[in-house]
């Protein structure tokens, strides 16, 4: 808060914080939330979810180093294999086509810079 001012950048966070505390307490001790039964994913869907999430995180890690072309080709192949269960040759083909189409869309049509990585492309 600026000296002499009655309100400032800390006013709204204070209000939000107090209300969040009150809402949290209300939900814990007073409100009766509707019972939600959630079945945990199992079997094949769970495997696809975990693999898909893992590949995405790996993409986030390798993209700045490998650049768009290399990392997207690798990751899209991995995603088609992990989430779609396609055989490697088909996953590789789908991955290559997707990488090319996304490049055309973002780099050629929308003129967006994409990460080039250590390889320069």
């Amino acid at each position: 808060m600026v000296a002499g001012a009655v309100v400032g950048d800390d006013t709204f966070p204070l209000i939000v914080g107090v209300v969040l505390l009150l809402l949290g307490a209300g939900i814990l001790f007073v409100a009766r939330l509707p019972q939600v039964k959630v079945a945990r994913p199992y079997g094949e869907p769970r495997k696809r979810m975990i693999l898909g999430a893992g590949v995405l995180v790996a993409y986030w890690v390798i993209l700045p180093y490998l650049g768009y072309t290399g990392s997207t080709a690798l990751v899209s192949t991995g995603l088609f294999r992990a989430m779609g269960g396609y055989r490697w040759p088909l996953a590789l083909l789908l991955g290559g086509v997707t990488t090319g189409l996304l490049y055309l869309m973002f780099r050629v049509w929308l003129l967006q810079p994409l990460p080039t990585g250590l390889l320069g492309f």
């Binding site: 808060m1 600026v2 001012a5 009655v6 309100v7 400032g8 950048d9 800390d10 006013t11 709204f12 966070p13 939000v16 914080g17 209300v19 969040l20 809402l23 949290g24 209300g26 939900i27 409100a31 939330l33 509707p34 939600v36 959630v38 994913p41 869907p45 696809r48 979810m49 898909g52 999430a53 995405l56 995180v57 993409y59 986030w60 993209l63 700045p64 768009y68 997207t72 990751v75 899209s76 995603l79 088609f80 989430m83 779609g84 269960g85 396609y86 789908l94 997707t98 996304l102 869309m105 973002f106 929308l110 003129l111 967006q112 810079p113 994409l114 990460p115």
Partner: protein, 503 residues
């Protein structure tokens, strides 16, 4: 210049090749995503939002509006042919649309849905054309306390976006306000909740948040569900004259209900479609036909859905209040382009507003002209396996989140939000209040600080000025109305689908 003059100049801009192309592209892309079973307008806008973020404001908003309309149309297709509503607003369409499809009249149901949507959507835009400038004129006398009142009024929308639990809705909304606080403070540029970490200084990007919450989480939710494709052949989508005669009064009534209720901030299409369907059933001489393939049961809710969606643009553009989750994303889009919806938008950015309004007319025509003949293609597209669609959506979301600010931090935010959104959706914590509050938070804070500075810190200023007081009282009344409407809709959704409400 009068309204018609502005509209004519809007048409001149909307019909330029670039803008027309964006309207066509938006409608087609929106229909494509909307027609995929389980994906609704919010997911469609979220997935395609980054693509529009790099365009100029006018074509970008035209494309977003096209995506919104297109996705709603696509949602009706899966509701009628597969009995799968993309969002709650398509549930009543399933009730009679699916039995019609089973009787071999799926094409007619789709045709009536498209004609009803076109009619209601166009009438809704006519209302927007004449009503929104009037509303904006009234609001020109607004100062910071009145704008604060308006933001509180917008907050009442949360009641109808809370998926049946107000406590959860409010908690999510305040979490959204909290996330909007991250970054530099508006008055002193003091860092808030950044933990001295440079990437957090510029705050959380809206597109990264939307992409994560709605697009990435949607793909993982979709992996759990078994997907089905439309296998039946659609022969004739053009209804007979007798069908039209039967459906037309229902379309008119649905349009009226949808439009006038849609003017209320907080009255989402999910609410009005059930009211239109129930009203039609009550007025019918043969209510026993409903649920067994009555054409009015498709015509009325489809018209109400589109009328409400069009009417929703009135509070959105004139007051800056979105009535539903997709409109909240559209509001975010406007803010991303530096355009603040509200009374001044009509004064400061008249060209922009009228081009967008004209493009809504154009979008409605495009949907009618393109989608009916293309129904075979949409049906075919539902056969693309999820093992291909899922990875493509994820990659599109990932690169899209990166491309907005060329930031790997934003991609990280969307991944975190994707995981967060997945669990929130599974445990039925509504996402829309979080999104709405995240978008409106900075504005609410700005007007709060300005008002309190004017009054020397006294909150009484909000009650001492007529318009501000009226807005606050209006907000309280609307909150109560929304609660009643949501309770009614919640009960109806449960009756028809045995599921919880998620408007």
């Amino acid at each position: 210049m009068d309204v018609l003059g502005y509209l004519a100049s809007g048409f001149a801009a909307a019909l330029t090749p670039t803008n027309l192309l964006m309207a066509v592209l938006g409608s087609l892309l929106g229909t494509f995503v909307g027609v995929l079973p389980g994906l609704g307008p919010t997911a469609a806008i979220a997935i395609l939002f980054p693509l529009t973020a790099v365009l100029a404001p006018v074509p970008a908003i035209i494309m977003l509006a096209g995506i919104y309309y297109g996705a709603m149309y696509g949602g009706s297709t899966t509701a009628i042919l597969l009995n799968i509503p993309g969002e709650v607003a398509s549930v009543p369409t399933c009730l009679d649309g699916y039995p019609m499809a089973q009787q071999g009249r799926g094409g007619v149901a789709l045709g009536i849905s498209a004609i009803g949507s076109f009619f209601a959507g166009t009438l809704g835009v006519v209302g927007l054309t004449f009503f929104a400038p009037f509303l904006a004129d009234q609001a020109l006398r607004f100062g910071p306390p009145e704008y604060f009142g308006l933001m509180v009024l917008a907050f009442t929308v949360i009641a109808s976006l809370s998926a049946g639990s107000l406590a959860k809705g409010f908690a999510m909304a305040f979490l959204g306000y909290f996330i909007s606080l991250i970054g530099l403070g508006p008055s002193t540029a003091e860092p808030r909740f950044t933990f001295d970490w440079a990437p957090l200084m510029s705050g959380v990007d809206l597109i990264a948040l939307v992409v994560g919450l709605y697009a990435i989480s949607e793909v993982f939710i979709g992996l759990e569900e078994s997907r089905v494709a439309i296998t039946q052949k659609i022969r004739n989508v053009f209804p007979r004259l007798a069908d039209l005669r039967e459906a037309f009064p229902a379309i008119l009534r649905g349009t009226g209900i949808g439009f006038f209720l849609g003017l209320l901030p907080g009255c989402a299409p999910g609410v009005t479609v059930f009211m239109a369907y129930d009203a039609e059933k009550k007025l019918s001489k043969h209510p026993e036909r409903f649920g067994k393939g009555a054409i009015e049961g498709v015509a009325s809710p489809e018209a109400a859905n589109n009328a409400t969606s069009s009417a929703g643009f009135i509070p959105l553009l004139a007051l800056g209040i979105p009535a539903s989750a997709p409109l909240a994303v559209l509001l975010g889009g406007l803010l991303v382009y530096g355009l603040q919806p509200g009374p001044l938008l009509f004064q400061k950015n008249a060209d922009f507003v009228w081009t967008v309004i004209a493009s809504l007319y154009v979008g409605n025509v495009i949907l009618l002209v393109l989608n009916l003949p293309l129904i075979g293609m949409w049906v075919w597209l539902t056969r693309i396996p999820y093992g291909i669609l899922g990875p493509v959506i994820l990659l599109l979301a990932f690169i899209g989140a990166y491309s907005v600010r060329n930031s790997m931090f934003d991609v990280g935010v969307s991944l975190v939000c994707g995981a967060f959104g997945f669990f929130l959706r599974r445990y039925q914590w509504p996402l829309a209040p979080l999104l709405l509050a995240f978008i409106l938070g900075p504005l609410l804070e700005k007007y709060l600080i300005q008002s309190l500075s004017m009054s020397g810190g006294s909150p009484l200023i909000f009650f001492q000025r007529g318009i501000s007081l009226a807005l606050l009282v209006g907000a309280a009344l609307l909150l109560l109305t929304s609660l009643v409407l949501v309770r009614y809709t919640s009960r109806r959704v449960k009756e028809e689908t045995a599921e919880e409400l998620a408007l």
